[in-house]
Subunit: 588 residues, 2 copies
């Protein structure tokens, strides 16, 4: 299943390092030098579905190679900027366009499309790189006094327009440069306390090498691996209620966070108790997680750590005759009380076909053999995953899982399939840039639902997705609980039109909301999904969040402009750029 | 270890059913006809420690057999009472003293002492027995309009003065009579939705017999068994953030609750989404749990259910040479990632000695044999527990646990010890009534702490407890996590003096707060611990709870009078009864 050169035609994938002052440099996912063109099977599939020819892959477009330029004046006074420089040091305040552009967007498809079209419609007036909680206290106090808006940039991997500075007269605190240190490590408690700008890989490396880096007795893992892992930040995990791909075993970030520290415009420092559970009123940790920067700035987070012994990892892979049978097996595993797998995924028929194409299996001898055994193309569904924890526990889970899968008509496939998925799981986002150079947009939306309503939600959301002709829509379940799971929709469409994309994207959010599922299992709400949140939570529930906002941030300076739906009044909505019809796009 | 008649002297334990109109009827724990005099070993120990003779056990006192009477006039108008009767029906409003007395207190030691001394200092004006959410909506709306205070009575097992109607012009909603029905059961999701007045045993029976009662395929358990189980309510579990004795496996109630419905004075009905996890802003469920009736009335709760197969239960019991070694073993088990025991307890030296006396083992051949092997009296510590879940998982946990315990110098004892503990665990509260008839007060306080600070917290709190001469103070750890656990202090003192007891109790709370532990792992805060909460959470954190209170209940009609520290202004504090010095007791 290695990457073979395409036989007849090799598209001219753009694989150069884009200039540092180009839109592309900030648009592209991850390592500027790494690219991931699709393998031949997938390339063929895409051509077939969209009715494209090799000719269509000759014309790369909207590469965003132009030099960054935008006309968003800095509205802060020289005196205000001087105050910030006095707080953090001259070298930690940036006023130039490149620094401002580097934090203007996250990795939302809308961000990528805008950068490809050279649209920077929002940027902070300046960028600040704080180092300590004390500096953040001073910044927040000053901003409150001067009514300056504060945006926070963690890893920049948001897919919900989370960090976008949509209001003028604003600063962005970019935590990547200085706010990324270890505060403390406690091996007895198995916890680590870090600043929120620490990146996922930096934390994981530190923990994996804990005997050297932290003087620990053992090696550890953070257990939290979102697909955005490479460029995600610990702070972003916490404030958005993120989930890693191994969350079925390790839990979502709200299960991993033990305590937090926040600086808010209400004054003082919120610091929660570092105990796993207590009964001392409502959970302040669970109030702050999910606030997505709208209540205050996360300045410290204490996380559980887990033992690291990847050499013991036990993998599994099954093929089912139908999506329904796969789901039944998944539910039975989660309700069986013999421990949970770590990664645990089930792909629907279309995703299974897509994956088998990806690895050129769909039509070859293996694919045909599967068909012979009753696992028909277009019906068959792939389940894969691996376990973590004590080796004997892993074996027990594998044994029980095997029995349940077989009961539901599944056949075991080699663990190599799982290994192949593991190998690609963090660099799949690279592929979307290469594909998009030819007008192929790959984007995702996800939701949370209980087992009982899962098929209904799946059918209605998928029906909407597929109502658009020539659209790939693949779905998987990847974060499981005894009472339900997520549904993750990946859609691939062929267009260069931002408005067309946005309308379709909004239509899917409409469909999710109407289906009765929760708008997000782990992407968060940000500014992009915000218009839908009240419809899902209910107005009485939304008013609770508004009351909290009023308490923490009465002047609305923290991540203003719609974040988690808190300030969606018409007069606060930043006008949509002229490139598409004003107000038509349902985001802000 | 069965109950033998005492050889020389059989105290005249009061074991009759107290008259229904007596204080004792409402003071006594649980089944009016059930009593639990101490076994001989414990009786002897208590005599020895308090320097008592058999003579002292001839004079029962403060039995509370007097006929209930109190002078708290109903301040509601006839018209107001008529409105309530129009809402719930004439038969569901009670104005008589017995009904009012039956909900005046919970099972806080202060409540028991007051009833023994014939003190009913607080009672609601009337008692209402609603049946439906719609009725509660009407009641809350009307109370808001008329500024009538609302208290809610679930199971009445509070040890924090939770349901006490400390303000005049109030109604108590007693949920036991009508608000105790199953709303729905969903076997696919493994959830059950019930009204909050349902008692623990009623829920458990329903689930254990699910094939008959709910038409289910399997038998289930709720997994939540607080010591107060027999007389606890599902609603009480949720609003106080309770924990069952098997919480190490099943989780605390906040881990078991999937969704809730609340009626609040803010209007509308708060109804959360029934999904296990999501990323749609702060967790509304985690805001409402811990609100202890101060934000609104819980009207529905959806809980996880688990598979029920008690025949598979695997028990274990170990004796350690020291408390420290026992704790190290416990921590290692919790961090070992091979699954968690269900019940998992470690008793300190004094509790171990107490328990061995309880079962007359301390000084007999078994006790001496233990000594021979190096498990010395006054040093040795007992660990016991059992597992739940898949039988193979249970065996794995037992195996790993055995290895860890042995590494820490422990010796296995027969599982019969665990069985003996299981047999008594829900009826131990009965014993405290029988003992107290002779002036022996048994009460408890508990806190949450991480592993790293556990010994410091233990030592400083215990030092305070033992600073009082002739005091038994036993401690155990009974709810464990990889990052920490609870510490549960049981203290036994000899006094009839309410103020003396209260001062001592306050001193322990002071000691807990000063130690840096969290005030409560699962008892909640109520009105009794409220004065300490701000000191523990911090004022900035407390202000978050106040902001929520202001949103939900701007007129402060929901469980007013100090609940979770929300309204502790001096002018709102209900004067303490003349029987002890006004204001000296640190509760309200």
């Amino acid at each position: 299943m290695s990457h073979k050169p395409y036989k007849d035609f090799e598209p001219d994938w753009y694989t150069e390092v884009a200039p540092k002052d180009s839109y592309r440099y900030y648009m592209k996912w991850g390592d500027p030098a790494f690219n991931k063109p699709p393998k031949e099977g997938l390339y063929k599939l895409v051509k077939k579905i969209f009715g494209l020819t090799d000719e269509d892959f000759k014309n790369r477009r909207y590469l965003g190679l132009e030099k960054i330029d935008f006309d968003i004046p800095c509205t802060l006074s020289a005196e205000q900027i001087k105050t910030f420089k006095d707080i953090v040091g001259e070298e930690n305040v940036a006023e130039d366009k490149i620094s401002r552009a580097s934090v203007c967007y996250g990795k939302t498809m809308l961000d990528i499309l805008r950068l490809r079209h050279n649209i920077i419609e929002n940027a902070p007036d300046i960028v600040i790189y704080p180092s300590t909680t004390e500096e953040v206290v001073k910044i927040v106090d000053f901003c409150k006094k001067e009514k300056i808006n504060i945006y926070v940039y963690g890893g920049g991997s948001s897919v919900t327009r989370g960090p976008e500075a949509v209001k003028r007269g604003s600063v962005t605190l970019d935590l990547r440069k200085n706010f990324n240190k270890v505060i403390s490590f406690n091996e007895k408690n198995q916890t680590i306390t870090v600043q929120p700008g620490m990146s996922g890989p930096a934390l994981e490396k530190l923990l994996n090498d804990a005997p050297k880096t932290l003087g620990a007795k053992r090696r550890y893992t953070c257990g939290h691996f979102p697909q955005s892992f490479e460029y995600s930040s610990v702070g972003g995990w916490a404030v958005t209620r993120g989930a890693g791909q191994n969350s079925t075993y390790y839990g979502k970030i709200e299960d991993i966070v033990i305590s937090q520290e926040y600086v808010t415009p209400a004054g003082g420092i919120i610091k929660t108790d570092p105990v796993p559970r207590k009964a001392c009123g409502p959970s302040i940790d669970q109030i702050m997680m999910g606030s997505e920067g709208a209540f205050g700035v996360l300045t410290e987070v204490t996380l559980k750590v887990f033992r690291f012994h990847p050499e013991d990892r036990v993998r599994f892979c099954y093929i089912f005759k139908s999506w329904e049978e796969g789901q039944e097996a998944m539910r039975e595993v989660m309700q069986g009380e013999f421990g949970f797998p770590s990664a645990f995924r089930l792909s629907d028929e279309e995703e299974t076909s897509f994956m088998l194409h990806l690895y050129s299996v769909e039509d070859n001898i293996v694919g045909k053999m599967l068909n012979t055994f009753g696992y028909a193309p277009g019906k068959r569904c792939l389940m894969l995953g691996f376990n973590d924890g004590d080796p004997a526990l892993q074996k027990l889970i594998k044994k029980r899982l095997a029995k349940i899968c077989k009961k539901h008509g599944a056949m075991a496939l080699p663990g190599a399939v799982t290994k192949a998925w593991e190998g690609g799981r963090f660099n799949d986002p690279y592929m979307r840039d290469n594909m998009q150079d030819f007008g192929i947009i790959i984007d995702t939306l996800e939701c949370a639902v209980d087992w009982d309503r899962m098929q209904d939600v799946y059918k209605s959301v998928r029906a909407y997705c597929k109502s658009r002709p020539k659209t790939i829509c693949t779905t998987h379940i990847s974060h499981c609980y005894p009472q339900g799971a997520n549904l993750y929709f990946i859609f691939v469409i062929y267009t260069d039109d931002i408005q067309e994309f946005s309308d379709y994207h909004s239509g899917i959010l409409d469909a999710i909301q109407k289906s009765g599922a929760c708008m997000s299992h782990h992407h968060g709400i940000g500014k992009l999904f915000a218009p839908w949140l009240e419809g899902q939570l209910g107005s009485d529930e939304m008013n609770i969040l508004r009351a909290l906002k009023k308490h923490f941030d009465p002047d609305n300076i923290m991540n203003p402009g719609g974040t988690i739906g808190l300030d969606l009044e018409a007069d606060q909505i930043v006008p949509i750029d002229v490139k598409w019809e004003k107000g038509k796009f349902r985001g802000i």
